[in-house]
């Protein structure tokens, strides 16, 4: 078995303008995903929106700067993640197609294998 991080990206504006009805359907789809994946879901969370983000990095003199906002300014924001356990990539691909973000045109997921340090 191996671990995969499923990073959920999307256009935050589109998420912000979703109606209660749309959120209900959206959450139901996530519940269906979790039900199907079962024990393969190690962790999974929705993240607060990008304006709540804080970033840390050092400048040339090695001083740590704290800044308001995401590390990378992009149109698509990281909105949540799942950490999954699966036998191979095909298993993750087939599970991830259940995620509602994969079916909306403004969003999608990125799947990254997690390094196995044995």
């Amino acid at each position: 078995m191996a671990r995969y991080m499923v990073l959920i990206y999307g256009d935050a504006q589109q998420w912000d303008t979703m109606t209660d009805e749309q959120w209900k359907a959206h959450n139901a789809a996530h519940a269906a995903f979790v039900a199907k994946a079962g024990a393969q879901v190690i962790d999974g969370q929705q993240l607060e929106s990008v304006p709540t983000a804080t970033s840390l990095r050092s400048d040339a003199l090695g001083r740590i700067n704290t800044t308001d906002g995401p590390f990378l300014e992009t149109k698509e924001a990281l909105g949540g993640y799942y950490l999954l356990e699966a036998a191979d990539l095909d298993e993750v691909l087939s599970l991830a197609t259940l995620l509602p973000e994969v079916h909306a045109t403004h969003s999608g997921v990125e799947i990254r294998p997690v390094v196995d340090h044995g």
């Binding site: 191996a2 699966a86 036998a87 191979d88 990539l89 095909d90 691909l93 087939s94 799947i111 294998p113 196995d116 044995g118």
Partner: protein, 424 residues
Amino acid sequence: MNDEVVAAVAQAHRRDWAQVFSTTAHLTRDLDLAEECAQDAFAQALETWAETGIPDRPGAWLTTTARNRARDVLRRESVFRRKMPLLVADDTVPGPEGGLVDDRLRLIFTCTHPALSREAQVALTLRLVCGLSTPEVARAFLVQPATMAARITRAKKKIAAARIPYRIPDPDQLEERVGAVLEVVHLIFTTGHTAPVGAHLVRQDMVDSAISLARMLHLLMPADAEISALLALLLLTASRQDTRVSADGRLVLLSEQDRSRWDRQLIAEGQSLLLVALRRRPTRYALEAAIAALHAEAPTWQDTDWTQIVRIYDALFRVWPSPVVGLNRAVAIGFRDGPRAGLDALTPLLTDPALATYGYLSAARADFLRQLRQWPHAATAYEEALILTDNDVERAFLTERLTDVRRHLLGPPTAGPSTGSPSG
């Protein structure tokens, strides 16, 4: 080392590489180690067969040798290898059409996995399934060998790290995944059929690789109609291979080709595969093969059934609405109804951004304009077409046509209308 042994090893490499490599990879679960062991087995064959003679079943001999070598390495390096990401392989399970899964099929699906870029899929397929060397693959895609080697290494690393499995896709994914395999095979064929660059029109190693891949797929999944259709298309198209270039290396158009030299055996094989494929819902490759078959069956260029060909292009455009299909359809209309109609059919394509740098659109327009004796426009279109191809054989053909058109453009001194009488 005698010639007979060298030839036998070369033949075994063409015929059995995929089998030797794929079964070794299943054992090692490491593509690099499998490559090393398979290559060693072929090198060993050169020596051993010279002494003991060529075995009755060279493929089996090579597979056994490669797997034995792999077992030795695995025993020696077991501690080290335990720390490496290994190929995720299923064990013997029934294949999509019953019977045990052939490792070659596992390998093909791994190499053409959608998580790999199309470039990487093609490179891996040629390198690992067809057994071409990295410089050979690099040459086909006009990149430096070092660049191609890096591309292949990256792809292999992804297969291991992301655990792209070494197995046949589940039934619900199979059709889509076979589609990706066929696209890769088709791309390899078209790259060879008309090489985008270089001194030769045809790159035979690519054509041969594509046909042997399609044959292998057909052998392993005989009930898949789309595979039969693609194999039919490749065979019917390749049947004209020898007549597309003259003895002195010039391009010979379909209308001028010596049809008595078309490969009748390939045509017959293509036709019977096509008949099977057409019993199902007509798909992209089946329709393309049907068009190729109509050309192959026409005894002369004048006998070509353009009405039927245009009809099939219409059907093809419905299942595969690509601008290139639109272009070929327009050309067929031109042959059916004359150059004026052909030119009209091409007009809507001129604004299609997908065809903006597609030289065959310019060449098709140039030819219709030439037939309509619109010399200035024809000249411009030939010049455009020339800019857009880097194949020397095509360039020579277009240059010849352009020269011819320019001769008319200047006009013989007596042909033009008089522009007034000299004063006097």
